[in-house]
């Protein structure tokens, strides 16, 4: 919060009042300390997530981790006598499902954001916004169940394939899940473009579509990229829906009808069956650390774009 003149004056007088340290002064100090600790807690939590997950996976990473095998081998056989821990197939599973989900979610969410933000008015707009918000609230385990019980037979019938739990199923489910969130963020980005831009373009005789395409979208570009990045992060980290809808089979997918296995889902499916401290248990935590680091980078990148967008707004508004 920027300091106003009154605020500065208040601080000065507070300093003067500090000579008389009554009860109110002490309460104020203590309260400031407490809320400061509350603020710090966010940093403490994110650091401890990294530390605790790394700690459980550390033994494996130090002793048994063969980086080359880990990253490039498609052989994920953690339970055999001579186990191999290659996560290439898991990464391919995550990438294929997230990729397909984004193919669906990006055009639809940007289209919906433009419609809600630039075309819809009054009641229609409010209703659409509320609907999108409600869609975003459906729990992921319910989406997984929908993939399992509604999409699965549908895909088997439509495409005449033996199994409907595959990249296509999970991709569509994940696309439907990510789209509402991306729509909301993208619409915020459009709203951040000052109305004066639109008015200037309209005064020059531009149609609504020309205003949107030539003025609004270019100005909101960074916020829109951030929306897409956050959608990718969401898809990447989704666990239950992907576990239930992909068919959960180790595979390097060659078609949308192949069953795959995602990194997140592997942890969820296998952690319960492993003995604490065993290599298999530790390698699952190692995957967790990889997931943490990847989403960390995605979120940071999105934040850079959002901040870039905000700076534009405050400079030009």
């Amino acid at each position: 919060m920027t300091s106003t003149k009154v605020e500065l004056a208040h601080r000065a007088s507070a300093n003067a009042a500090a000579l008389y340290r009554g009860r109110a002064w002490w309460v104020d100090r203590v309260a400031q300390g407490v809320v400061f600790l509350g603020g710090l807690s966010a940093i403490v939590f994110i650091l401890s997530i990294f530390i605790f997950v790394a700690k459980e996976g550390l033994g494996f990473m130090v002793a048994d981790l063969n980086i080359k095998e880990f990253l490039t081998s498609p052989e994920w056989r953690p339970t055999e006598d001579s186990p191999t821990y290659g996560i290439l197939a898991l990464m391919a599973g995550t990438a294929s499902v997230t990729g397909l989900a984004m193919l669906i979610a990006v055009p639809f969410s940007l289209g919906a954001a433009i419609y809600i933000g630039e075309f819809a008015t009054g009641k229609t707009r409010e209703v659409l916004k509320v609907l999108v918000e409600l869609l975003a609230a459906i729990p992921s385990v319910v989406w997984g169940f929908i993939g399992l019980s509604i999409m699965n037979p549908l895909i088997m019938e439509l495409f005449d394939v033996p199994v409907g739990l595959n990249v296509l199923n999970a991709g569509v489910i994940l696309g439907l899940m990510a789209a509402p969130i991306m729509t909301t963020i993208a619409e915020d980005a459009l709203k951040a473009v000052p109305d004066s831009y639109r008015e200037a373009a309209e005064a020059l005789g531009a149609t609504r579509w020309q205003v949107i395409f030539k003025v609004v979208l270019p100005s909101a570009k960074k916020g829109l990229v951030a929306a897409i990045l956050l959608g990718v992060g969401r898809g990447f980290g989704e666990t239950m829906a992907v576990l239930m809808a992909t068919g959960h089979a180790i595979n390097l997918p060659t078609s949308p009808f192949d069953s795959v296995c995602a990194m997140t889902a592997t942890i969820a499916a296998e952690l319960g069956e492993t003995a604490q401290g065993s290599p298999h248990y530790q390698v699952l935590f190692a995957i967790g650390i990889s997931l943490f680091l990847i989403t960390f980078v995605i979120n940071m990148a999105a934040d850079v774009f959002v901040r870039g967008g905000l700076r534009m707004r405050s400079k030009k508004a």
Binding site: M1, H10, S13, A14, A17, A24, A31, V35, G38, G39, S41, A42, I43, F45, I46, I49, F52, V53, K55, E56, F108, G111, A112, F119, A120, L128, V130, E133, L134, L135, A137, I138, P139, S140, V141, G144, F145, I146, L148, S149, I150, A179, T207, W209, Q210, R234, F236, G237, E238, T239, M240, T264, A268, L271, G272, L291, F296, N299, M300, D303
Partner: protein, 291 residues
């Protein structure tokens, strides 16, 4: 408008525009309609499942019959403990960010931490819960461990909602109070918080809705597949609605078709009601505000 002549160019532009409008409207609807169809399917397929017994009985016959009572109670436990843990932290953090923090490197770090807490995959939060609460603090697999895991995960929801509603209180309110000689905390406690309490409440309702639906973070930290009794303390394990849906739709053979549909619909209904209440509350407040 009648004094202007419509040119050909003008007309073609207008046609193009209405085409675009229709197209984008259809795009928006394709996001919403599938979910409508899904809801109708869920309702149709769960027909006959709902009865008083469905909500009041324990599952029977290896979860192929009976109700969801212990899962409902367990979810209540998990939500209540998670709220107790996260709301104080979240509100304190929001007060700090809104009322005290200057634009420093530390503030930026806190904001980045919040963004990342919200963005870390739920399964990584689960791993954290196992490493920290179950093993390190030795809570074991318990309601306490599961709720704390979810509290950390949903902390950003409370922080963001609270910060927004604190910042919506006009600056002159604070300045007027300071001019009366009040300390910063007196201003926050007597003026800022009372004027934003309802906004904070909508955030808390949203957090409840998130917590109800989460599955991955509780799978290994405190939720059980099946328990023949209700939890009596935070050190017990419990069943939960979200995990119950996963279990009966993937792990248990010979479940009658209507049962998982019924559980899924109940879960969606709870979440939708909570979110609608939160949205309705927000709209009502926006209408009521006089500044």
């Amino acid at each position: 408008m009648s004094s202007f002549q419509t040119t050909d160019l003008n007309q073609s532009n207008r046609r193009k525009e209405s085409l675009v409008r229709i197209l984008l409207g259809m795009v928006t609807l394709t996001l919403i309609i599938p979910v409508g169809i899904i809801l109708v399917t869920l309702i149709a397929k769960s027909e006959g499942t709902f009865s008083w017994a469905f909500f009041s009985e324990f599952p029977r016959n290896s979860m192929t019959e009976g109700g969801i009572f212990p899962a409902l109670v367990g979810t209540l436990w998990l939500v209540a403990v998670a709220l107790l843990a996260s709301v104080p932290f979240g509100v304190a953090a929001a007060i700090y960010l809104s009322e005290y923090a200057e634009d420093t490197a530390l503030t930026r770090a806190i904001n980045l931490a919040i963004i990342n807490l919200a963005g870390v995959p739920s399964i990584v939060h689960a791993l954290f819960g196992v490493g920290a609460f179950v093993l390190f603090f030795e809570f074991g697999t318990s309601i306490l461990a599961a709720s704390l895991t979810m509290a950390v995960m949903t902390l950003p929801v409370v922080i963001v909602a609270t910060r927004e509603s604190l910042q919506a209180v006009p600056q002159p309110f604070r300045e007027a109070c300071w001019n009366m000689g009040a300390t910063r905390w007196q201003t926050i406690w007597r003026i800022v918080l009372p004027n934003s309490i309802s906004g904070i409440l909508t955030g808390v309702i949203l957090e409840v809705s998130r917590t109800v639906g989460e599955t991955a973070p509780i799978m290994f930290t405190g939720a059980a597949l099946f328990l023949p009794f209700l939890p009596t303390s935070v050190y017990d394990q419990t069943m939960a609605m979200s995990l119950h849906l996963y279990v009966i739709s993937t792990q248990v053979p010979d479940v009658p078709e209507g049962l998982p549909y019924g559980v899924a619909l109940t879960l969606i209904a709870i979440v939708m009601i909570l979110n609608s209440v939160s949205i309705g509350f927000r709209t009502y407040l926006r209408g009521k505000k006089k500044w």
